[in-house]
């Protein structure tokens, strides 16, 4: 008690913590608990049967498959974009740097109808791909395109500060010791970037799983082929099948929580590694 009282020179601890907790509980925790309570009332057999119908299983495959693919594409290009933005100079760089955040700022419905128009067979990009026999809009490929759009800033913005922090002396040392540029990247730079890259990848993946607005326009929403789980929740609600919607929501919630936990562990791990390295270098 004496220890904690020492810090309470400042006013407002009870009030601020109290308000934050009440706000969070009423708005987030109680509603989530309500969803779980609904699920507990169901028998396990019912739950399992609803959660694993062929159509639902297909929707998991579409949702997670497309989200995984999009997050992988984002990890690859996001790393390159972050590298180019930090290390190279070119005209309009600041403008492009600001543009990276567009998916955070542009409402998902706008992204949805725009990407659909662009990638439809008559659109600017789609018409270029038709002669090659590639169709994107109204196919699972369209979902991947929408999810790539949504996920771009996550990878770039988590990797960018880490690249800025890399001390170039390390690269010089590697080069002096005879490493080629590629060896330096693989052995020195990539290991330093890997935790941030993985965090960005997981953030993009987790966002992509729940995404609804941008996907439904471009997906075509064919059952078994291009129907995502969030859309199934909505169609179950529209058919007054609340139980079914609850089951699917619970499945998605559990997966999201596991991912959230993974993100937190990753960030904790990355932060600890970072401080350890720093404290080794600067003993003071």
């Amino acid at each position: 008690m004496t220890n904690s009282r020492k810090h309470r020179v400042l006013p407002g601890f009870g009030l601020s913590l109290g308000f934050a907790l009440v706000y969070l509980s009423l708005l987030v925790l109680l509603p989530l608990a309500g969803l779980v309570a609904h699920g507990v009332h169901m028998s396990f057999a019912d739950f399992w049967a609803t959660a694993t119908t062929p159509r639902t299983l297909a929707s998991y495959r579409v949702t997670f498959g497309c989200a995984l693919l999009a997050a992988l594409v984002n990890a690859f290009f996001g790393l390159i974009v972050a590298w180019v933005l930090v290390r190279y100079d070119f005209p309009g760089k600041r403008f492009i740097d600001a543009l990276v955040d567009l998916p955070f700022a542009l409402p998902t419905a706008v992204a949805g109808i725009t990407l659909t128009t662009l990638y439809a067979n008559t659109g600017w990009v789609g018409s270029l791909l038709v002669p090659l026999g590639i169709q994107i809009a109204f196919k699972p490929a369209g979902i991947v395109v929408a999810l790539i759009f949504i996920g771009i800033p996550f990878v770039v913005r988590t990797v960018q500060p880490v690249i800025e922090d890399i001390e170039q002396e390390i690269e010089e040392a590697a080069a002096t010791l005879g490493a080629t540029r590629w060896q330096t990247f693989r052995r020195v730079l990539f290991p330093a970037l890997a935790p941030a890259l993985l965090t960005g990848f997981t953030l993009a993946f987790s966002r992509a799983i729940g995404e609804y607005g941008s996907v439904i326009f471009i997906a075509g929403n064919m059952p078994m082929v291009s129907e995502i789980t969030p859309l199934m929740i909505i169609s179950k609600l529209e058919q007054y099948d609340t139980q079914g919607a609850i089951v699917l929501a619970l499945v998605m919630l559990v997966i999201s929580f596991v991912l959230l936990l993974a993100i937190n562990l990753l960030q904790w791990y990355a932060a600890n590694r970072h401080t350890q390295r720093h404290s080794e270098r600067k003993p003071a």
Partner: protein
Amino acid sequence: MTPRRVNTESWPVRLLLCVLALGFLFFFLGLPLLSVFVEAFKQGFGPYFEALCDADTRSAITLTLVIAVMVLPLNILFGLSAAWAIARFDFRGKSLLITLIDLPFAVSPVVAGLLFILIFGRQGFLGDWLGAHDIKIIFALPGMVLATMFVTVPYIARELIPLMQAQGRDEEEAAVSLGASGLQMFWRVTLPNIKWGLLYGVILANARAMGEFGAVSVVSGHIRGMTNTLPLHVEILYNEYNSVGAFAAASVLALLALVTLVAKTIVEWRMAREIAMLSADLSIENPAVAAKS
């Protein structure tokens, strides 16, 4: 420049990386942004302004603004409270609280909407009671405000917590020990220190509040002219094959996104400048920091 040569790639690699990065951003960000406006003006200015002056579109714009105006003050209050408690005091379960604040980011917007239907909907926990008292929350404004509040919970708190943790509590403790009241300390010390971070959070939260689709879609009921926000209106017009109308409404939201990006960039510059001013004192000890800024 010559001594740094070892630290960069050969020029073909550099060119390749630049082409890959810029090509990727062009196809996935630049083209979509451009195409919103091209599609909106496809039939000229007349039909564009006609579409914007449509009564349903105007009421959708109003509703979107009303929701943002109702959500943001509460969100600011929550962000300030949470950040004050977390960054200025030590208590048990602090990291759990930080994780809980992030929780809405991990929940699909559709699930977020469903949560409120389960409480306030006709078959929900409070459904009978609300029905008996003739209070409408789902398929009405309160439900849409709640859903928007849910998805915007983390934005401001997430900006303020690391910022206030980095600033430390010395200045506020000095103010209080010199006799400032709680409010004086807040207005004269805390707020000036965090104003840019707060503004940054507000900008992001506002973009999300005005643009939210999934969560609001579940609880809105899509009643034209009544419970239709602008993003929902875009969907309705698009599904009616009213392309110009849909993209005209979308162009308003895209404009909002551009304003958001510009405002965000300006705030980032201001924050960087303040950090640079702070670290100018340290420049004698650590020239690298000064050089960077």
